[in-house]
Symmetry: C2
Subunit: 432 residues, 2 copies
């Protein structure tokens, strides 16, 4: 009864904070986290994470070395499904989109689930060497941190909860998503929330990523991605010299794009990630293209950069058509939207964020809030509380999305971070 | 004797014209061509070319539809070898480099040969659709003109000479070369002149190309080709925003390169033919590259553009290192020479050029001299008389090196041009 009264009092406040989930003034989050950390079951789970450090690392390496380029996560998904089944969730399955899902029932499930997820895919193309290299306690490999070691941590969570017989109020849906990175355009998590069997049944969402556990991502950076193609008539590089060349328009566009000025806050960024076109050195090519990525913490700022980019592309085509002959045809610029991630936020006053903050602080870390572009963007944009949380000690990973990506797996700081990460999940799902 | 005297008189003149072959004032080229054209044997050969028009076209289509990308001419070479054997030169073989060679002995061979060649390769990559499309008397296909139909014309030459029992003074070496186009960098003809069994045994050289028979290429345009790569540290497009991006340097370089001013004469050209780099839209890439082609009728002008291009590349890297952070590493620019074609000329006063001019004029065409970059560059640069000649009527081909390349095979103008082309070869090789 009491709690019902409190809920009715807090309702106007919740509405005041909009769609980011119920704001609960009623719960003492820090006290609840303390209770959990002091419980024999949690201590048993923590002890198991400590004993299993080597296994977490080994399984992370094993999964890292199964390539999982965008749209080609299947081999890794199948292996992860098996590992999740072996970890204690025999019903783990792969959904229509390729996500791996496994439900762990709670004691007082309300028909809704809390998702605890990591992503299967990496940014790296199929041919990338994904062999893990060791250097002291550092592991180097494309994708080892972002986000493969988190998959291994999910497995460790499940094993620890099973062996310590941990009970949570809420049903937990463990998920390994496909398509978190660039070209995937959140296809896995989008399917989960808008098409799959748990559509409308997810009440909150965690994505576990490579970063430090002290850093809580409660802002989803919006992004727009385009493939811009300049087409022209082509021709012989000597015989047809003087005709418009799409590469010159492309170069001019890239150069002008590089001169856009953006504010440091709200953080807004832009990049050219991939470029291509042409078939032989001695031909004026038929086309040249580039893939551009624009992101912002602010939707208006994102729109501003997007509009400018689109204008630059048109001007570059026009400039080339003015500079050289169009007698065989003009340069045209075509911009195709290939990625469109909604922005969103999870209010720091939501239960979800408050539990996360309390657990991180109980672990002895100083919380910082961040904006990023992760699977959490999708639920955030739908008004469903979502956080992307870390599972490593601060500053123990780096060079994400580059071939020299690394993480440090030194035992003590890693186990402490993983344990803290688990405590966030257990606090938010109502460990008994 | 008379001719010996005349030769001794003309010697100082020959020396005055340098290494472009003996200048013969002694021969009445036009009269010799008239004699050939009036001969029953030539008339029989011409009649056969007329009868075989359909076959020439069909064999050209057949060869066009066997892809022959740079470095992958083998399938087409094998087929052409068989066809050449069937045409009457059973000893046709493929040399170490991949060229198809077949010798037709002359009556007074001096141990040296006159090469009559066309090239096997096209500029188009392996996946290109090379199916020939018909539109009236026009054939559309990548490579159909440049230079595949010339291979078919070589076969027709051989059949016509065999069936009309034509005798030439000189040995003729029919050759289908590999590597004429861009990346091949003249590897076929280079092998022929510098390594193969006919090294030092070639006294003059014809390359038969797509253009009008009225146009004689006696100038070999020099070219320099580079693959320029910008390397940088890479990183996450949002997290590492602010780091140097190789694509921005590439864009700036391409844009600045496009602004180079060149004289119309001596003709000097530049182009970006292929561009690439990066692996995912949401990563700052490790590298971006472009392949540039620079050509000139003048070696000093070529050097001037080359020097400027190399400077632009360095400046673009420096500019990017100044514009953004280098804390994870700098942008570097690396320029690799991937093509280096010597320039050269064949003096219009050489016997070779005089016979060609007389035969073209006897065909009723008005001669024009041209510069181009063809297999003839190599012998020209060695001081061996060489010409690239056409085999179609004027303005009956176009859009070379583009996907909508075409030739017009209308019977009467085509047969007339092919016959004239044959008369050039027969005049130069001393038809009896």
């Amino acid at each position: 009864m009491l709690s019902a009264v409190r809920l009715s009092i807090s309702l106007p406040l919740a509405l005041a904070f909009g769609a980011s989930g119920a704001v609960a003034q009623s719960v003492n989050h820090a006290a609840d986290v303390s209770r959990i950390l002091a419980s024999p079951a949690f201590k048993a789970a923590a002890a198991q994470l400590d004993r299993e450090h080597g296994r977490i690392v080994d399984e992370g390496i094993k999964l890292t070395e199964i390539p999982a380029p965008p749209f080609k996560e299947e081999a890794r998904a199948r292996e992860f499904q098996k590992m999740l089944q072996a970890a204690g969730l025999p019903d783990a399955k792969i959904d229509e989109e390729g996500n791996v899902l496994a439900l762990r029932k709670g004691t007082h499930g309300d028909g809704k689930v809390v998702v605890v997820s990591a992503h299967l895919d990496t940014v790296f193309p199929a041919a990338t060497d994904v062999k893990v290299k060791h250097q002291g306690s550092k592991l180097y490999a494309p994708g080892v941190g972002d986000d493969t070691m988190s998959l291994s941590v999910l497995l460790a969570f499940v094993r620890a909860m099973q062996s310590a017989n941990i009970k949570t109020r809420d049903d937990i849906l463990f998920v390994a998503t496909v398509g978190e990175e660039g070209p995937g355009d959140l296809r896995g998590v989008r399917h989960l929330f808008t098409k799959g069997q748990y559509k409308n049944k997810i009440k909150s969402f965690f994505s576990i990523e490579s970063g430090g556990v002290d850093s809580i991502t409660n802002g989803g950076v919006g992004s727009k991605r385009y493939r811009v193609t300049f087409n022209g008539p082509g021709g012989h590089s000597f015989g047809a010299f003087g005709l418009v060349n799409p590469m010159f328009a492309l170069g001019q566009a890239a150069s002008e794009f590089s001169r856009i000025q953006v504010a440091a806050s709200p953080k807004t960024t832009y990049s050219i990630g991939v470029i291509g076109g042409g078939t032989s050195v001695n031909s004026i090519p038929l086309s040249g293209w580039m893939e551009v990525d624009m992101r912002s913490e602010s939707m208006p700022d994102l729109k501003r950069v997007e509009d400018r980019m689109l204008k630059i592309m048109q001007e570059a085509a026009e400039g080339e058509n003015f500079a050289r002959s169009t007698k065989e045809g003009k340069i045209t610029a075509e911009a195709k939207l290939i990625g469109d991630r909604p922005a969103g936020t999870t209010d720091v006053k939501t239960d979800l964020a408050q539990f996360a903050k309390a657990a991180v602080e109980a672990g002895g870390y100083k919380v910082s809030y961040r904006w990023s572009s992760t699977d959490s963007n999708l639920p955030m944009s739908l008004g469903i509380p979502a956080l992307t949380i870390g599972r490593s000690a601060p500053d123990r990973s780096g060079r994400s999305h580059s071939l020299d990506e690394w993480i440090d797996v030194e035992k003590e700081p890693m186990v402490k971070a993983v344990t803290t990460s688990l405590s966030i999940v257990l606090a938010a799902t109502g460990m008994e």
